[in-house]
């Protein structure tokens, strides 16, 4: 069933490796030395790959922004990753050493943004290792840190680990944003969720009180829309000039006589910008539903060796247009006015592409 998450249990290392190796072919990869990074060795260096994508990455390396995804082993990062980023993004992984269970992978979205996933083992040794030896390499030039807590494992030691990470980040990237996801909230009884969340949130705010980095907490669960909402906020924060985008989208919406126009990031289908003309839609969860449906459809297209360009869905009440828009986005236009011909909307979507293409790179500076 498409709406169920792919990972319901922690994947075995062999499964995980296969999953990630399959995607390693797709795009340029960040190479890390395979040997164990003991304190004697230098930190991993970024070596541009020789694939075409890799060459492009090298040229754009100055524009790359880093998003770190960290959290205790078993907190749900891989699960989250497969839901939000589906199974078909460029990633690379390597193991630091047989004894230290660490995975690095890199996911590209929103153009030149790289999500570096650091899936770390539970051993204290590991944390000590990358907080000491690789500290500046990891925590330098970070745009955003997403830290995942398993709501059931929120002991003092877990908080201490987070604090250490936050301090390292504060030291090397004081302008970074920190999004803390209090994950697996479905395991908390519904009536207690709000209270539990606020308690944890205040603990987190307490330990980051003296830091320059801005911290924001979200409850999340793979079983409802909270995960999508949290990640939408995250992606939204990575697009600085959302006002500019939304103003232009508004113009587009009005000129097309459409009911609603939504701009999705084309890999994750998270909402970047959105505007409505007139009455508010009743279903606030429609974005994650659409996101799921389109992602599944894209996957099916891929399996059939076809690439998803766009589609038009028409019923008695409205016509919905989905189109790959700019290089990183997909646009959805909803038109319920039956006097408007579909071809005219398609014409406008094509006409607006170059304009938005020029807008969106600006927002990534």
């Amino acid at each position: 069933a498409p709406l169920l998450p792919v990972c319901l249990r922690r994947p075995e290392s062999s499964e995980r490796r296969k999953l990630l190796e399959d995607e390693a072919r797709l795009c340029g990869s960040v190479d890390y030395p395979r040997s164990a990074a003991t304190s004697a060795e230098s930190p991993p260096r970024h070596r541009p790959s020789t694939s075409p994508c890799g060459r492009r990455h090298r040229l754009q390396s100055t524009m790359k922004k880093k998003v770190l995804l960290m959290g205790k082993s078993g907190s749900g990062k891989t699960s989250m990753r497969s839901i939000i980023f589906a199974d078909y993004l460029a990633r690379d992984t390597t193991r630091l050493s047989p004894t230290i269970d660490v995975e690095y992978s890199s996911v590209q979205f929103l153009g030149n943004l790289h999500l570096h996933l650091w899936d770390c083992g539970g051993q204290d040794d590991f944390y000590k290792n990358y907080l000491d030896n690789m500290r500046d390499h990891i925590f330098r030039s970070v745009e955003l840190l997403v830290y995942v807590f398993d709501i059931e494992h929120f002991e003092a030691v877990d908080l201490k680990q987070f604090e250490a990470v936050a301090e390292a980040l504060d030291q090397h990237s004081p302008d970074a944003l920190v999004f803390v996801l209090l994950h697996k909230m479905d395991l908390v009884a519904e009536e207690e969720r709000s209270l539990v969340f606020r308690e944890r949130e205040s603990l987190i705010n307490e330990c980051t009180r003296n830091l320059a980095v801005r911290v924001k907490c979200f409850p999340s669960s793979i079983w409802d829309e909270t995960l999508y909402r949290a990640w939408s906020q995250i992606v939204y924060s990575l697009v600085p000039n959302t006002k500019l985008l939304e103003d232009n989208l508004n113009d587009f919406c009005k000129i097309c006589g459409s009911d609603e126009v939504v701009l999705f990031e084309s890999t994750t289908f998270l909402v970047i910008a959105h505007c409505e003309d007139g009455s508010k839609h009743s279903d606030v969860h429609r974005f994650e539903k659409i996101s799921n449906i389109i992602k599944q459809f894209k996957l099916s297209c891929r399996k059939a060796q076809a690439s998803f360009e766009g589609m038009v869905v028409q019923n008695s009440r409205f016509t919905a247009f989905f189109n790959l828009f700019t290089s990183n986005t997909c646009i959805m236009v909803i038109v319920s006015d039956t006097d408007i011909q579909p071809a005219s909307i398609q014409l406008n979507i094509d006409a607006a592409k170059p304009h938005f293409e020029s807008l969106i790179p600006q927002t990534q500076m």
Partner: protein, 196 residues
């Protein structure tokens, strides 16, 4: 009102404004309505000319309908209608246009204006059309059983303007009417980016 958003048109004209040029889709039927709406005619010797334009539509080169005006359901969609339906019309018109255009590319004068030429063809008896003296053409006039159809290429044929009139309207007058709107559309739509 204008067919393109004013900021977009200004931007496309190169005035330094940073905006996208889009088609104001709700305005299109009104613009096309200039052909179909009844207008007061001046007093002419011999009385006012008879006949009217029953429907006008703008389509893409490939026959995808962008907007229309007229084509009253009672006259076109009823089971006993004598006139072809707009959908059928747009499909056939775009095909015919492609055929003629393939053989006769429009000639441009020194100012890059498409030169006027007329080809008339009888649609119902397969007679080969009598081509105008000039090798170029830009208006297609078709005499159907119960009406006249005029098709004009806009922006070099990227769009097609089509007007269907009842048989009482003289083809010459139909051509003049559609020609006037065609100039306006050529001027408005040329600012849209060519993506076809």
């Amino acid at each position: 009102g204008p067919l393109l958003n004013p900021k977009g048109a200004a931007a496309a004209a190169g005035t330094g404004v940073f905006a996208m040029a889009l088609l104001r889709v709700k305005e299109l039927p009104h613009v096309l309505g200039q052909l179909t709406e009844a207008r007061p005619m001046p007093d002419l010797p011999g009385g006012a000319p008879e006949g009217r334009v029953l429907g006008a539509m703008l389509m893409s080169r490939h026959g995808a309908l962008l907007g229309s005006s007229g084509f009253d359901a009672a006259e076109f969609e009823a089971p006993d209608a004598v006139h072809p339906s707009p959908k059928v019309m747009s499909a056939i018109v775009s095909n015919i246009w492609a055929e003629y255009a393939a053989g006769n590319a429009p000639a441009l004068d020194n100012n890059n204006n498409v030169m006027d030429g007329v080809v008339a063809a009888a649609m119902d008896n397969n007679a080969s059309g009598e081509e105008g003296a000039a090798a170029s053409f830009h208006t297609l006039l078709l005499e159907l059983q119960h009406g006249h159809l005029a098709v004009v290429g806009i922006c070099g044929g990227d769009y097609l303007l089509c007007a269907y009139a009842d048989e009482k309207l003289q083809p010459g007058l139909l051509r003049i009417k559609i020609g006037a709107l065609a100039s306006y559309l050529n001027e408005s739509l040329r600012h849209l980016p060519r993506c076809q």
